[in-house]
Amino acid sequence: MQFALLIYEEQDEFESRNDPHKAPEYWAAYQKYSESLTAAGVLRGGNALKGTELATTVRLSGSDTAVVDGPFADTKERLGGLFVVEADSLDDALEWARKSPSVTRGCGSVEVRPILEMNAG
């Protein structure tokens, strides 16, 4: 089965992407992580996301759609990106989540969610 590893980051960690002093280390950590997923043959997809200041949320409001500036929920940690991995069990997916830079760098967390298989049945 496949699991999404949703990478949540604190504001400072997220912004270190654009800080010339911190960015090399930040990207190197993700590069290494992504390589280890590839080497294990479990990486199925994923992307990094731009900042929540660029986010726009759409929802139905009455009979019309409302478009609002900003992310769905303003929380301390924001979604910075995601990886999709192949794993036999949540236990294996959790092992990968533990190794993610947002966890090992101590500046965020990973939400692990099984992916719904649409072609089943």
Binding site: M1, S89, L90, D91, D92
Partner: protein
């Protein structure tokens, strides 16, 4: 003949439910469909055993029927992967039944499951208790318990939680979580259901799980320590409330009501645990029970040993409850000033809703001749008391 078959079936359910389920879950992974299949196997037995006789290898018989159901169920699913699995299962030889209930317990103690559902899930999976019965022990509505169990089983299925855990850090953590979850349920039961007549029954079930845990993990001194601790506390259970249902403090409990057989079993269990020379939280807490029980039985309490054990506990597993109990031991051993200092060292926020803190503070202030402070703390303790028995006891202290 019919009655024989019925009795046999009841005894198989009691002794083999967890083992049969563990054997199915090992191969299948999905706790819920395995339980359904096992329930169907028992239903077939109810129908056939009275007329056809009880099979010699009744466990193997039940396992075979349950497997058949699972295979049929998956065939109906018609998914490629599941068909493969069904074929795979048919090749599985029907060998003897290994006891893998510890793995089943560890699956229920998985950190990805809500802490509140772990022990109910153990009772359901390992002892085969119904949601209805478990609900009574946890003082929640049967529908609520049922929903909690279903949600946990769904998570096990949908995320493929693993049945087998290799020895290592993960397994150590899971064993620790198993012990802690069990003790939490056991002690909550004692506190919260003080007024409930059913409480003894639920505690007996937690004790049954602790026995299984200690039996299946015999080289784990903490599993033995936990069992010893629960045995000591169960032994004192009959003296916990007086004839009017009021809570009785340890110092005033009628020792003739204590169950000597359980105390003896606890002693033996604790002795075995100490043989491993690897101390831990549960062994220390059991040793404290032992020292205090013997103090009462001999009419002479060795406070030196007790205070030393509390200090050990503070290092090995510092908890709020442990610190408050330590203060209480200081008070009872004639060190009220030290007890007050110990209580004062605890964080204000942490103790705000912690009932034993206020009860101990009230007693300490009374001893130190501070009646106004004692009254305030006593009022707070009564507000926070979770049972009438406890409230009445606290009121009686005020005199």
């Amino acid at each position: 003949m019919q009655a024989d078959a019925q009795a046999k079936l009841a005894s198989v359910v009691e002794s083999s439910y967890g083992k049969l389920l563990a054997a199915l879950v090992r191969r299948w992974g999905d706790l819920e469909s395995c339980q359904d299949a096992l329930a169907e196997a028992f239903a077939v037995a109810v129908e056939k055993w009275p007329t056809q006789g009880v099979p010699d290898h009744h466990e193997g018989w039940l396992l075979q029927v349950a497997r058949r159901r699972l295979i049929d169920g998956y065939r109906r699913g018609k998914r490629g992967q599941e068909l493969e699995r069904a074929a795979d299962l048919e090749r599985e030889p029907d060998s003897r039944l290994p006891d893998e209930r510890l793995e089943l317990l560890l699956l229920c103690a998985h950190p990805a499951l809500d802490i509140k559902v772990r022990v109910p899930l153990m009772l359901n999976a390992v002892l085969g208790l119904s949601a209805h019965k478990i609900a009574a022990g946890f003082a929640v509505a049967p529908a609520t318990m049922s929903a909690r169990l279903l949600r946990a089983k769904k998570k096990i299925r949908e995320t493929g939680l693993r049945f087998e855990i290799q020895p290592g850090k993960e397994r150590e953590a899971r064993l620790k979580s198993l012990g802690e979850s069990l003790y939490l349920a056991f002690s909550l039961e004692a506190d919260e259901l003080g007024d409930d007549g059913n409480s003894g029954e639920a505690r007996a079930e937690f004790l049954a799980l602790a026995r299984i845990f200690a039996h299946l993990d015999p080289h784990n001194p903490e599993a033995l320590g936990l069992l010893a601790l629960m045995l000591y506390q169960s032994a004192r259970e009959p003296a916990r409330l007086d004839s009017e249902g009021a809570w009785v403090a340890f110092e005033s409990q009628q020792t003739s009501l204590w169950n000597r057989e359980l105390i003896e079993e606890a002693e033996q269990t604790l002795l075995r645990a100490h043989g491993y020379d690897r101390l831990g939280r549960f062994q220390l807490e059991a040793a404290l029970e032992s020292a205090q029980i013997h103090g009462r039985l001999l009419g002479l309490t060795d406070w030196g040993v007790i205070l030393q054990l509390y200090e050990g506990l503070a290092i090995c597993s510092p908890t709020l409850g442990g610190s408050v109990a330590h203060a209480s031991a200081l008070l009872h051993s004639g060190h009220p000033e030290e007890a007050r200092l110990k209580l004062a060292s605890l964080g204000e926020e942490a103790v705000r809703h912690f009932q034993p803190y206020w009860a101990t503070l009230a007693a300490t202030c009374r001893k130190l001749g501070l009646p106004a402070d004692a009254r305030l703390a006593g009022e707070r303790a009564r507000e926070l008391a979770r049972s009438n028995a406890q409230r009445n006891f606290l009121s009686s202290l005020e005199g």
